[in-house]
Symmetry: D3
């Protein structure tokens, strides 16, 4: 206990059902302090002919993609400076906010802004967390940055955290915090 | 569709059931792009005499408190410099990490560390997000800082984000990122 | 088999739940030729705090009144020539169609139209049937008419059938068929 | 809400399940004034090996045929004067009652009775309604008649309503009301 | 897993529901080798107004009494030679079979038969098992006998087993096996 | 009523599901005096991807074999003196207790013990009952013995009852009671 029964239209993949089952398990654990072993989730899949709303059969909407995966692929593409690939993950109206910068809306603006700040940067991840927000999905990823300053000296171990909003499989917003200024000030 | 039925032992308050229902609704929305209006959650509450696991009746464990509320009360107590109240929210083994500082384990250490950095600081919140993590609950809260530097000049609008881990109703970990160094460097 | 489980918000009276259970039983019998004894209906009533749609608790809408009862009360009021009482059962936009008459919209028009046809009429009922139609409820009631012709001679045993549409507890339409003309032609 | 779960033995066609789902939806709408969009019906089909009553597995009884379809096919056959086809829809013990006639039990009697009344008649349908009655299914169909009187003059727009009882896929009773006498009296 | 949901009419005591829950748990364990901890039983109690079979509400039949308790009370009354009390547990048509005796139908016959065999006997129980048989409940109880032979010498540790059939709360049949003859032959 | 829904992981054979359904039906009949016809059992089988405990999918454990069948096969092998076949049904630590004998742990000991008692023995069965006990399954089988004494004279109609404990498909314990001594004493 608790036991959750989820009735949904047939048509989701095993991976999608696993994601759903885990999200529901976590939702229960968020409120009820049951041992995970005691939380049961059962999916009842209905064929379209076995389900009606308002007297009308329905088709299943395609599952939302895993937002944590989308964010990671975007960040990997950025790190590889594959801007076309990265851009494909962004929604119309995307905005991003970096420490000490006004909000930017294009990757080109980001590249231009970062040039005087560091030659390149790589992310090492300590954790990624994704969940449903008020509008769409929210993804947090945190860890440390390494790379080179414009003068060619290396840096590493600088803490960062990024927050993403993902709607309909596209990133609509990125907010970035890190200790780069702190490190530059007190190297 | 989907329709979720949650069977749980009777004994949770309406507020706790609302939290559970919303968490389950969000868990479904995280994977299935159904209109919120189409997501139904039904709670079936069983009296202890109506429920058995392994042939034994069970009692409901008290619900976990709302971790977002715990974090907010802790931050309010810190802002009011009511260290005793703040301390009551912390678990044994609590650690906190601030920009440019080694991890600290006591509020006194934090106070000492912050003294040369700012006279006082107030948080204005843009958003708080709480969800179940791998171990316990995770709370993110973000917004802007205002306050006074040690020299008495005021500051405001400095972005921050705090990440908390909450287990069994107590805060076990706090990680802080903000733009204070950025602002000091480029005021 | 079949077994029907109906989940609804708590707040309906025992009479209303009986009406619901019988309607569902009949719906099943309409398609599946199970012995009535083998058709089980179970109502699961959820308190508002045990039910959410779209993350929001809901209140139960008051049950629709029994349309067969409304029709019968209307017909009884008409028979007693209590026009005020009868009028209270009619919706705005009510229309009625009688054999050989253009559609009428007021009870006064009906009274005027019937005066040369019969002095008074009484209904004896053989059967009443009510069910959900495309828009609202539909009620059929049939039986025989007795009364007096304008010349004071009595009549009886004249077949009739009335069809009513009832929406939101008010009668929106009445259609009448009977053998009065047949009887007058071939007394 | 409400949410209906119907458990039945596997073996019904999609069309039969749609009929069942709609009948249950209408049964709920008959009592609970929910928006159709908010009424969910879920069918859980059990294979014979997944279902037992009294410790014995059961086989599904064939679904009852759609009584509205049976009635319409019978009326079409009558209109085409295909008496053999029409007769196939009638149960043993079938009786029919027409305005001004004693109950009849054979189509031949009906033909003989109608000969002096009209040369032929065609039905134009305004509506057909079918539902479960106390014993079997009940079908109402209404609209207008057109055709020719015995003297060769045409008529049209004469209101009619037929009531049928259908048990085990056969028509057991037909009751007819119409305005033919009214029209003849006041042409 | 498995999870059992039992829907029953409200009106059973907590003790009766516990008996039911344990019997269902054991029924599952009899076929599925799940750890007891993983077997969940949930009772859904319906008020009479929430349940219909064949369109008719039903009342709960009183629970059957615990047959193991009935048997034990009967055996205790016999041991105390309280024949009136013992007789109250017996159904009409009760028969009992003891080693080396023709079937008997009255307690008086039993007393007469046992007189030359032992002065008195006491049962020490090693185990009692009760379950549903083909007709009614079946109870087995086994252990050892102690007492005195007619000559006044004591005996003890003689194995016995009794089988009872209990229908409608009354004992209909008792079959007894023991090692009394074995012990007498090879003391 | 009652209606039992059993949710289990897909993977059990029809025979195993029938055994489960009957055991659950009997468990209900043991407490609730419903007519068998009124007791409905529905199995909901979940594919591994449709079921999670603790956020982890599970595989079904193989069903336990029918203990009554195991016991019967063991007794048949013993009667045929096929000791290898009989031994295959016994668990490590098997013990058996016969009238007038100390507990034995091997079939060879049993054969040696029985030799002076009877030349051979055959069982005629009146009834076999199997159910879940505290630890494993329990099987009772009873009836009459026939055979030959060591001196070649025949016997028959001697009552017996055997009790078996079966765990994990192997017999762990056999307890035997019969009237052999009674018959020898009072032939």
């Amino acid at each position: 206990m608790p036991v959750a029964e989820i009735h949904l239209i047939e048509g989701y993949s095993d991976t999608e059902k696993t994601r759903l089952g885990r999200a529901v398990t976590d939702a229960i654990r968020f409120v009820v302090p049951a041992a995970p072993e005691a939380i049961t989730v059962m999916l009842h899949e209905r064929k379209p002919g076995q389900y009606m709303r308002g007297g009308t059969h329905r088709s299943p909407a395609p599952a939302l993609p895993d937002p944590a995966l989308i964010v990671r692929q975007y960040l990997d593409a950025m790190e590889a400076r594959d801007l076309d690939a990265a851009r494909a993950f962004l929604a119309d109206g995307f905005t991003m906010t970096f420490p000490g910068a006004a909000p930017m809306t294009t990757l080109d603006a980001l590249i231009a802004w970062s040039k005087p700040r560091y030659a390149f940067v790589r992310k090492s991840y300590d954790g990624t967390e994704a969940f449903q927000g008020a509008e769409g999905a929210v993804v947090y990823t945190r860890g440390t940055l390494s790379g080179e300053w414009p003068d060619g000296t290396a840096f590493e171990g600088i803490r960062f955290i990024d927050r993403f909003e993902v709607t309909g499989g596209k990133i609509t917003r990125q907010d970035v915090w890190n200790d780069i200024a702190e490190v530059k000030e007190h190297p």
